[in-house]
């Protein structure tokens, strides 16, 4: 992968969680204005990679650079303030706050930008009706929509999303695919972890595949989507079974 235009770059990143060595030298480049898929089997280290980028786990070796500047030693709030939005795996909403309050948490002191709010609500109209409802009372799909909405309610330089389709119905997954396709039109840089290969193929520009705490393949998503043998080799799946 040509990473000359990389907004985010990981070089030889190792992460230990307690006495467990999870990441074994991750090399990854996320290019500006592109949607990069991070794929891999369960336990490959995808979520740990995202959490390490966000400073939620500390890297034990290697470099993480955002827009050319090292961020590996920064605290999570400082990383977020660089314009990196993170949607964690388990629908990272605050269930005891309302939809409105969840979104307000991610805005600046001036509150909502009306035009931006309309754009975001345009992506997920279902949230409009739930504006003053407790976020905990939303369906799984709506919670995921809220989590993504909160990540983009302010302009961000990089959006990191961890398995947004996990446990969701096919209709909701399609809604999320449409939302990501529309987000791509705004040239938002996105790093997306996903198990659903149909979604990955639908929205991904680039792909990096992880196995055993390393990136074992990086390239164009279209190339991987077209190469069934490579899919089987890297992911142990066939495209036909994920149509």
């Amino acid at each position: 992968m040509n990473d000359g235009a990389a907004l985010l770059r990981l070089a030889g990143v190792h992460t230990h969680i307690g006495r467990y060595h999870i990441l074994h030298g991750v090399d990854l480049a996320v290019r500006r204005g592109r949607l990069t898929m991070l794929l891999g089997r369960n336990g490959a280290g995808k979520t740990t990679t995202l959490r390490t980028i966000m400073g939620l786990w500390r890297r034990s070796a290697g470099e993480i650079a955002f827009d050319g500047a090292p961020i590996g030693a920064l605290d999570t709030p400082d990383i977020a303030r660089l314009g990196i939005a993170y949607v964690p795996e388990s629908m990272g909403i605050f269930g005891q706050l309302t939809v409105r309050e969840n979104l307000l948490l991610a805005t600046g002191p001036k509150g909502f930008d009306a035009a931006r709010l309309d754009d975001v609500m345009g992506l997920f109209p279902a949230l409009r009706q739930k504006w003053h409802n407790g976020a905990g009372s939303l369906s799984g799909g709506q919670k995921q929509m809220l989590a993504i909405s909160r990540a983009i309610i302010e302009e961000r330089r990089l959006l990191i999303v961890d398995e947004p389709t996990k446990g969701l119905a096919p209709a909701v997954i399609q809604l999320l695919i449409d939302a990501f396709l529309r987000l791509k039109q705004t040239a938002t840089t996105i790093l997306l972890v996903e198990q659903n290969f149909h979604m990955a193929r639908s929205v991904g520009d680039e792909v990096a595949v992880m196995d055993d705490g390393r990136v074992v393949h990086a390239g164009a998503m279209a190339d991987l989507a077209a190469d069934e043998a490579l899919q089987r080799q890297l992911l142990g799946l066939s495209l036909a079974s994920h149509q």
């Binding site: 939620l56 605290d75 977020a80 993170y86 964690p88 605050f94 409105r100 307000l104 948490l105 409009r128």
Partner: protein, 361 residues
């Protein structure tokens, strides 16, 4: 979608945080009116003292709720901050010429010390796991209790300090020669209304704080600290600020207690019994609601003052029955208070306010 435009005065006053539900609203209105007209509805020194204590404990328990209910931090040092405010006023009035400047100076010193100590505790220990933080606060509170007992020259030791208050607050002061509606307008009444107005103002201010962007962040931190950090919030700073704010408010409650009693000692404001009372008020009333501590304070203070006489009356009326008069003997009031709490927690697991709100939905 926007709610803020054209807000009604009540919404403005309550910061848009209405109690929720008719029963709860009526209960809170009854408490407000009961306290506002307590001197006229329940004449006498004892009922007035009970009403004043309810006001003070509403502030104290609500300020603790900012820590426990809104931020998710279990601290056992809240009585220490309560004591700092009380000792601030007590020492100032005992050592300086009696006057409002001494009251203000003592209260300000108590509030400042409480906020400073809370910031230090927060910065030094909020990074550790919740249970260790709780243990640290317990140790610090115990240390403060020992310190207050040992520094006899300053605090009066275990005997505490008895002091005079400004003339306006003394029982001998007369606002008017003739009683109004049968109530003497004396310094006790002035003291009560000073406490009532201050408590109401502080409660409304707390409502404003928890419904502000700052309060929203506290609630987010309570729910998931890591998610809040991933949104760019320095959780340690927010939690420390919440602790300092909560401590300052507790110190103000302590200052009011000192003015009410014209005495302060370790047993009154620093003992672990007071801490247990605060915890019970918040849990029984409902955590994370602010209205919960209001009802919790009413239930607990009333129970502490009136359960024993009520049991005495019940025991007398059951004379001649087997076992029952002994069971309801006033000496067993603590047993029944415990039973009452168990029942409340069993039937209202989310606290009185939480349960009433759930029913109202």
């Amino acid at each position: 979608m926007r709610r803020g435009a054209g807000r009604r005065p009540l919404d403005w006053l309550l910061s848009g945080d209405r109690p929720g539900g008719r029963v709860l609203s009526l209960l809170l209105l009854a408490v407000l009116l009961g306290l506002a007209f307590a001197p006229f509805l329940f004449p006498g020194t004892r009922p007035l003292g009970v009403a004043a204590r309810i006001c003070i404990f509403i502030v104290l328990a609500a300020s603790y709720d900012i820590m426990l209910g809104y931020t998710g931090i279990a601290s056992f040092a809240h009585t220490m901050f309560f004591g700092m405010g009380a000792y601030g006023v007590a020492i100032a009035l005992a050592k300086l010429p009696v006057g409002w400047d001494a009251v203000l100076l003592g209260a300000a010193a108590g509030v400042a010390l409480a906020a400073l100590v809370a910031i230090l505790i927060g910065l030094l220990s909020l990074r550790v796991r919740a249970i260790f933080f709780s243990m640290i606060t317990l140790a610090v509170a115990s240390f403060a209790l020992i310190l207050a007992t040992e520094l006899r020259d300053l605090t009066g030791g275990e005997d505490g300090l008895t002091f005079s208050v400004p003339r306006l607050l003394t029982p001998g002061f007369r606002l008017a020669a003739e009683p109004v509606l049968g109530v003497r307008l004396d310094g006790r009444l002035v003291t009560y209304y000073l406490i009532f107005v201050l408590s109401l103002a502080l409660f409304l201010a707390m409502l404003r704080i928890v419904n502000s962007p700052f309060g929203r962040v506290l609630q987010a931190i309570r729910e998931n600290e890591f998610r809040a950090e991933a949104l760019g919030y320095r959780t340690l700073v927010y939690r420390t600020l919440a602790g300092a704010l909560s401590a300052a408010l507790a110190a103000l409650a302590g200052a009011m207690m000192a003015l009410l009693l014209r005495y302060n000692g370790p047993a009154v404001t620093l003992s672990f019994d007071v801490m247990v009372d605060i915890l019970l008020m918040v849990v029984i009333g409902g955590m994370g609601t602010l209205y919960g501590p209001v009802l919790g304070a009413v239930v607990l203070v009333m129970a502490e003052y009136y359960l024993q006489p009520a049991m005495a009356a019940l025991s007398r009326s059951l004379a001649g029955w087997p076992v029952l008069p002994v069971l309801f003997h006033p000496d067993r009031w603590l047993l029944w208070l415990g039973v009452l709490f168990v029942l409340i927690v069993y039937f209202f697991p989310a606290g009185i306010v939480g349960s009433l709100r759930r029913q109202a939905r």
